[in-house]
Amino acid sequence: MLLLLLPLLPLLATIPHLCSAASLIISIPPSTQLPNPNTLPPSTHATLLSGDPQVSPISTPLTTRSTIEFHNLSLPASPASSAQSYLLTISALSHVFACYRVDIIPGGSVDGGAVIEGIWKTYPGSAWSDRGPILGGKAAQGGGASGRVVNSAGSGSSSEGPAPEQQPGQEQTVRIDAKVLSRREFYEQRAGFNPLGLLMNPMVLLGVVAMGITFGMPYLMDNIDPDLKAEFQEQQKNSPLAGMHSALQAAASGGGGSTAGGVGGGGPASNFDLASWMAGAGKSAQGQGGVSSSGVDLREGAGARKR
């Protein structure tokens, strides 16, 4: 019997320091923001921060398998804390990752083993107790949560087991998927010189329209049919807009602008009432106007509007 146990001796000697410990494996799956996780820089790492000055932060870098692995998670030796709650942050310069809360409680064994109680998503600024659905850990075992929990109890009988999970005691391995929130965009493109953009400027557009009218209209007028031209001119005389136009012209040429009617000499301006036109009186107001000067009419119209 003793002889049989001999090959186990070196293994037994390791038991005190290979007590039950927990492993947390964070894998980074491909996502729309990060189609190829292999492109993450080697400086990508995850940190477990407790906020307790006696518990040092635990940090571990990205592996070649696009995972971040915490092995042998254990509780600090300080007797005061029976359980520890960590903030898990994943830092990569190129991408922003979600934050998680990781609770570690003492394991079943007497000598300070540890078990991951649960992993939840957490949000910066929200209360620590406000947590999302459980992603993995011991508490997730009962309910069918999304996290996969692997509990492998090594029997300790085979001395040649090379796999690290097959150590004596209980090894808990919790796997979660890290969520990429966004990609960091550092740069701003300089707005270069854009001739089309310059042309789309309203001032330039106004100028172009004005130029078109100045140069295009006389040319158009010269080229159209003489009958049509006459008709158009007639229409122009009758149209209220034309009336306003000539009224203003008349007022301008009238110097002090006392009575436009006197100077205009019965032009189309004399029978246009701007104020009433603006007030929406239309043709009827024009008919009433009679011989009154447009200046007076303006005042009257204003008065009417007041009333």
Partner: protein, 971 residues
Amino acid sequence: MRLNALLTLFLSYVSSVHAILADEAYHVDYHHALLGIPQAETTFFHQPSSSSNASLLYTISEKAIIGAVNPKDGSVVWRQSLADSLPEPPTVVEDVVKLPNEEQQRALRGIGPAKAGLLAEEGSGFVVSYYGSAVSAWDAMNGKLAWQRFMPQGQHVKSAQLIPSGRDVSSSSAVDVVVLYGTEGGTVTRLDGSSGAVVWEYEDRSGASPRYLASTKKSIYYVSEQSAVLAANSMKIVSLNTENGREDKSHVLKTDEVVTVSSCPNVAFISWHERSSRSMKVNVLGSNKVNTLNLERSNEEEIEAVSVLPGCGDSSPSHILVHVQTRNGVWAEVFDIDSDSAEVRKAYSLLYLKGKGAFAVSIVDEKPHFTRITDFEIELYSFAPGIMVARWPRNQPSFGGPGHAQAEVVLRGQSNYAIRISEVAKGGEWTLMRNGELVWSRPEMLANVVAAAWVEDVSGEALAHELDFEGHENPLRAYTHRLKRHLRDLEYLPAWLQQLPSSATSGLLTSKAETEKGLLGHKLLVVATSTGQHVALDPAKAGAIKWKRLAQEASDEARAVSLYVHDGVVTSYVNKWGIMTINATDGRDISFDQSDAHFTGVIIAPGPVAPVAYRISRDGQPKPTAIDDVAKDGTYLVTRSASGQDVQGWMVGRSNIKLWTFSSAAGSRITNVVARPAHDPVSSIGKVLGDRSVLYKYLSPNLVLITSAKRGSFTIYLLDSITGTILYSATHEDADTSSPIPSVLSENWFTYSFFGTSDAKSPSKCHQLVIVELYESPIPNDRGPLGSSSANYSSFYPGSITKPHTITQSFVITQSISHMSVTQTAQGITSRQLLCTLPDLNAIIAIPRYLLDPRRPVDRDPTREEAEEGLFRYSPVLDLDPKFFLSHSREVVGIQKIISAPTLLESTSLVFGFGGLDVFGTRVTPSKAFDVLGKGFNKLALIGTVAALGLGTAVLAPMVRRKAVERGWKL
């Protein structure tokens, strides 16, 4: 003042989120991505993949950074910090004050300093490093972790070796790792090369302290030092079976002080010698025979150092090159090892040469070749005949003499040798030479920068002096002086005329860096390293080194404390060494003063003639550099004792009087003391509110911000530095005080950041950033006690101290901040940015000040007046927009300090970060570049527009004239 206020108001609106422009990134900023000074044993050329012949340079530096460098251009392919992932015991504040107890001290001695090692095997695809308690395998190409294993109970790894795994290569790794760890009685563990799993363990229970591990193809040798009580300096060598770790045989050797153990595929040997001994003893591990090697030369110089370089070919025999360094020269002896008879025979010696030199061993066609590198040439010796087969002259000597070197030799044809040499100079510069030609050099000494200062270009000041002279002389003399000056200037006229056309055309087509430099000011950066070196960097030329100075005979403990620049002279204060002055333009020594060289800090105070330096002793007492060279009367200093127990206020001058002492509470320690920057102009004394009333800022030049931390909580105190009155204090419970609590004080506000819980009812673990603004009174248009009493106000009268009205807001940030600083501009009109180091992202970020306005309305939208002020709704989470990142996609590692300097342009501020590893510099425009035309200004478009307008006028003018004439005829 009013104009300034208006401008400030205007600029605060201008400043919106603005990012680094894609065409400015990598042009306005510069970055030296460093590794630290590479160590001799852990630096080598290695082919990362078996498919290609290209090799990379791998190293572990003295900063425990593992990295790969491309030998073609010297760029870093990847790097990782070995110390980062170590589960270090937390530094609790109380323990820092109190000395560790007896038991802890013994434990510390036993563990010893962490030792780093790097192993690589061709074709394995990974490199294995050990440091502290961790053994890690890294992908050789991209630097990602393959596996990592921590030794139990944090025991340090002493040594490690790679051995052939003997398994099927296709399914697993071709090599396994054998690790030796432990303090009293070592443990040898064989780890699977593909997973890091334990294959077997051998434990030594004798209590001897483990020292070395060596391996050959056949067996593993474990070397332990017997306890001193039994037998001093005796080494027990145990050979272990590679398959199962069983002990095969063992023998004990009596050795001397300096022991070296080397491994080759077919032989491993241990060599030892006394310091400055003329002989050396070698034992081939596995045999009892001790060979004595003579290091005699006719010249009777004392031997200073002996180092052993193994030359292992796969074929027998192997060779040893013993590099012997004397005071004036260097030579080497080459020995053969016969692995069968365990005998070591002298083959030949390489000539004694005066001066310093380095040797490297490289294998060409299974035969070792030896390279000797001196300041002038590179000599290659082939083993077989022991003659020089090639030599190349060097085009420039190494900085401070050759330190150690690695060579990669290629033989083309019969005798056509090509050589690549990676050399680490004693001055810390890492260079690569191809056939003697310098290919690249990396300034690794910049990884140790501890102090930096800006140097104004003084070339323009000569003219200023002359003009000053002309202004103060009588008109006739001034006129003749001026005439002479102009005549002297005439000699530059032809050259100026010659380059006029070229400068005109080049200025038209591109915005030249030279004009930019003229606008920003000709500034140099002088940095001092912890080893006493001084280097000048040119920010305008992408941080290129302008000059470098090596400290002569500086002791290892020497540590630069402070740099001060005045009138083109750099004064460097190096603790435990002395005070040296250097010419800032060329780096030449001016003077060196070694008297009373023990101080923890230096304060520069205004003196009657020139500024005066005060050295601060460990207990916080200021001492003038010279007895009669004292500051102006009425100069006040604030000092901190080295123990962190108290902060003292002093009045210095003809006599030094301690005015007040601020002692930290029991169990707590002062971790940080900051004052307003020396150059901190304020453009407006008040803040104009939306209703045109003014909130007056509490502006005092005598403010000191003190952080006092104990376990789990810290307190921030704002002190008046003249009376020592506490103006404001705030305590944060449940904060992580083991991580840094950075703070910064400027104008009328200060900020600090920490990791902790935000409030007691619903704790949240998050990083927080707190901003506090100080005002004279909570009521607008009211200056509080200052306004009512009178214009006579004195801070000396204790009753006159008015406490500021403070407005505070705190924000949650998603990243930790390890250091804070603030941008500085010439007039302070430009809005400020908070510069922070994000250690987790290896980035430097500039947070605009308007985001951190504590007057942002909480839980409601801003009123119209508040919106007019630029305030917007408070949100507890402050998003660190990627657009704020000054270091954009660069990875700037280990920045511990950021300094900022104004330029000639009000809009622009220069920024430089240094301290831990990298150095990084850039320039920032917090309110956009409002006073300079940037790259966005298109000269061609402007000229084109003017030309088009001219053309239009030329076309339209005749038309308009014709029309006018026609109109004239119509009337």
